[in-house]
Structure formats: C-alpha cells, structure tokens
C-alpha cells in the first residue's frame, strides 16, 4: 500500500471524526470504490484503518487488540476476495472460448441461402445463447434436385453444439452419395446412435426437392411437424410423418412421404424453439402459430420468416428460451 493512500485515509478519517458530516462519508464511499479498483484486500483495509486511528489519536490497548482480532477474521474474507479474482479470470477465458466456438459453429451453417429455379427460400436460425443445437443445410443434388435438412439436438449450449458439428460432417459425407430421405435418416441414425451420449438424441427432417416437378420427398425422425400451405385453399396443413428420433435405437427405419407443390404453395419447416416459444406467461399453441403464418403468408419468404420471428419474440417479451430455426420455401 502506498504512503499517499495512507495519508489520504488518515485525512478522511480525521475530517470525519471532527465533523461527522455526510460529505466525509461520501468521500469514504468513493475511497471504497477506489480501494477495490486497486485490489486492496479486506484485511489490508482493516490494518490501514487501525494504523490511521493510531496516527489520529492515542489508541487504548483493548481497541488495538480488537483490531488484531478483526484482521484475523478478515483473512477469510480476503481469501474469498482473491478467489473471486481468479474466478473472474477463468470466466473471461471461458467466455472468449465460447465466442470462438460459436463463430466456428456459425461457419458450419450455410453462409448464404441458395437460390434454385422456381422456388424462393427464407431462413431464420438464432441460438438461445451463443451456441446452437439447431441445424439446417441445403445441398445441391443432380437432376434438378436439392436437399433440405433441418434438425434439432436435445438440450442446448455447448454439448448440443458439439453434437451438431458431428451431424454436419455426417450429413455432408452421406450427401455425397445422394441417398434417398429414408436411407439418409437410417444412416444418420446409426452415426448418432454410435457416437453420442445415450442421454442425447436428434430430431430431423430430411427431404429432397425436385425443382422440375416441384415435389418434395422427405422422411421424418421424431421432428416437430412442419406445415404445408395450400395457396388455392388458403389453408395450412401439418406435414405428415413421425418416425423415431435419431440416436434412440440402432435399427430404426424411416418412411418416405411426398407432397407436390402448386404455384404459391409454401412449405414451412421449423424446430421446437418456434412452437414452444412463450406467449406472455403461457405457451404458444400450434393454432396461434397458424394464425401468425396466415397473416404473413403473402410476403416474400425471407420477410415472412423474419416477421414471424419478430412477432414471436415480442410475444415472449424478447426472452428466447430455446434455439430457433424456421425455413420457408415457396413455389413461385
């Protein structure tokens, strides 16, 4: 501790003992902030105070002895103070590691939304906190086809994100051989089942869209059902398909479904972060969501996805509890 600090402390103490005014106490409070900034520990402060007292006036022995006791007690507070410091450093380090990991993870998701003839696509995918357990991807296939994947890993944060990167590599390499949707899920199930903790699993919808015939062939593994909007009727239908989530049983098989899109029809794929978002204190129900979709269905795909996210966040008072992904695909 510096001599100047000691002198200053003596001065404030002397002034206060003389005047006992509030402004001296205000000075003391400001000094407290400064002492903390200088990392002066509690026991050092107690010691500083007892020495300052000595230089202001004759101190009776029992007061002196009582300060020795107080110093002794303060050592433990000092230990807590020092350990807080090391927690802070550790926290900052962890924080920056999470930021790097989350940037790495972002690079696993499509950087731009692809364009294909005759369709228009919009996507909103936002993590609840930094790292996401949601996954989506597009891959170009031969013969006027592209694939569309949307998945949700149970849990969120770092474990979900680690699982998601594994999933991304598996989808990528299986995508190379352009498997049909049911085969794709069957193979992914095997990868997930063998490689992730039994307490985790993944729900997924994998589909192939043919831009010549405008049909969408897909298979579902326990994933939140999407919607199909029929423009001519102006109505929303649940996308059919259930299936067992990936990673639950080694030999799950999956059923393929097919829908044909007419001009203006819209496919909406989502994760449960969308359907399980909050509406004030209660939860949103699927009917509420259909109402919102109905309101926005005439907008361009990206605008529609953006608007729905904005609307749901407002309803939830901007508290996003789960990773959120919505893909909107319209036949133009």
């Amino acid at each position: 501790m510096t001599r100047r600090l000691e002198e200053e402390y003596v001065q404030i103490l002397r002034d206060y003992l003389n005047s006992q005014e509030e402004d001296e106490l205000y000075g003391a409070q400001k000094l407290g902030k400064w002492l903390l900034l200088k990392d002066i520990s509690p026991e050092e402060l107690v010691d500083l105070h007892s020495r300052a007292l000595e230089s202001v006036e004759e101190v009776p022995e029992f007061v002196r002895a009582s300060f020795r006791m107080l110093t002794e007690v303060m050592i433990e507070y000092g230990n807590a103070h020092r350990s807080l410091q090391s927690w802070r450093n550790k926290h900052a380090q962890l924080q920056s590691e999470v930021e790097i990991a989350s940037a790495m993870q972002q690079s696993l998701l499509p950087q731009t939304i692809p364009t294909y003839p005759g369709v228009e696509i919009g996507v909103v995918s936002i993590a609840a906190n930094g790292m996401s357990g949601d996954y989506y991807d597009f891959m170009h296939f031969s013969g006027h086809r592209f694939s569309l994947t949307i998945g949700d890993i149970t849990g969120k944060g770092i474990p979900a994100a680690m699982c998601m990167s594994m999933l991304k590599y598996a989808v990528d390499s299986l995508g190379e051989i352009q498997l049909g949707p049911n085969q794709m899920l069957r193979h992914l199930n095997r990868v997930v089942e063998r490689n992730i903790d039994p307490s985790m699993f993944v729900t997924m919808l994998f589909g192939c869209y043919d831009t010549n015939h405008h049909c969408f062939r897909y298979a579902v593994a326990g994933h939140e059902p999407g919607f199909l909007y029929r423009a001519r009727e102006g109505k929303f239908y649940d996308l059919e398909g259930r299936g067992i989530a990936l990673g639950i049983s080694a030999d799950s098989t999956y059923v393929e479904h097919e829908v044909a899109l007419q001009t203006g029809d819209v496919l909406i794929l989502l994760t449960d972060g969308v359907t399980e978002s909050k509406k004030g204190r209660s939860y949103l129900v699927r009917e509420d969501l259909v109402g919102f979709l109905q309101n926005e269905v005439d907008k361009p795909a990206q605008l529609m996805a953006d608007e729905i996210y904005r609307r749901l966040m407002m309803l939830a008072q901007f508290e996003q509890r789960d990773d959120y992904t919505m893909i909107v695909l319209r036949r133009t």
């Binding site: 026991e43 010691d47 002794e72 050592i75 433990e76 230990n79 807590a80 350990s83 090391s86």
Partner: protein
Amino acid sequence: MVVAASNPETIRIERENDIVTARHIGRNMSKELGFGAIMQSRIATSISELARNIFLYAGSGTITIAIVEREGKKGLQITAIDEGPGIPDIRKALEDGYTTSGALGAGLPGVQRMMDCFDIESAPGKGTRVDVIKWFEQ
C-alpha cells in the same frame, strides 16, 4: 537454494489444540522475522489450514516451521507432513470451490495464494506433504 537459517520447530498435530500451538509458534517466528500484522495473520491462517487438513483427513501428522534463506533473502517455511489417505486428485484440491467452504478444511487454494512458494506431493494411501514459503520483502 533454500537453506535453514534457524532451528526448525516441529509440532505434532493430533488434537485440535495442536493447531493453536502451531499457529502460535508460526506467528511468533514471523514476527521475529519482521513480517507486519497482516502477513503474520496470513501465515497463521495458512498454518491453520494445513494443520486442520492433517487433523481432519489424516488424523495425525506434523507441521514444521523454519526460517530459511535463499540468495540473501529470508523467509518462513512451513512443511506439513502426514501419512493419511492422501489426495486422489490434487488438481481438483487446488481448484477454487464453488462455495466458500472453510467449514471442512481444505482451503489449499487460499494457502497457495497467500504464500510465495507452494509445493505439494500426495498419493492415495501414501500420505501428503505440503511445503510452502513466504519470503520477507524489505
């Protein structure tokens, strides 16, 4: 190299009262060496923690306190030795707890931060030896 600059004092730790004896001897030796009030208290607290660990986890052991010298600099060295169960995971024992434990002893991270040198050897079933030094800065 660290060399002894005085006759070391060894205190057997078997009862809780022995912790007090060790603290007392340590405080007197640190006063003798010239340490100020805070450092005396920190040294006494470190001795307490080491002795309490012996008392709580090993049942018995020794605390040795010595004034040592290295390159003209003096310091106080405290060595805690026991033949108790040992520490299975030293890294964990040196991590700051989520709570301010205190109640059950341990307190090794606190000791490590209060002292300048901190050396620990321990193996399951082979006991524990902790060696710490606080150097006296003029």
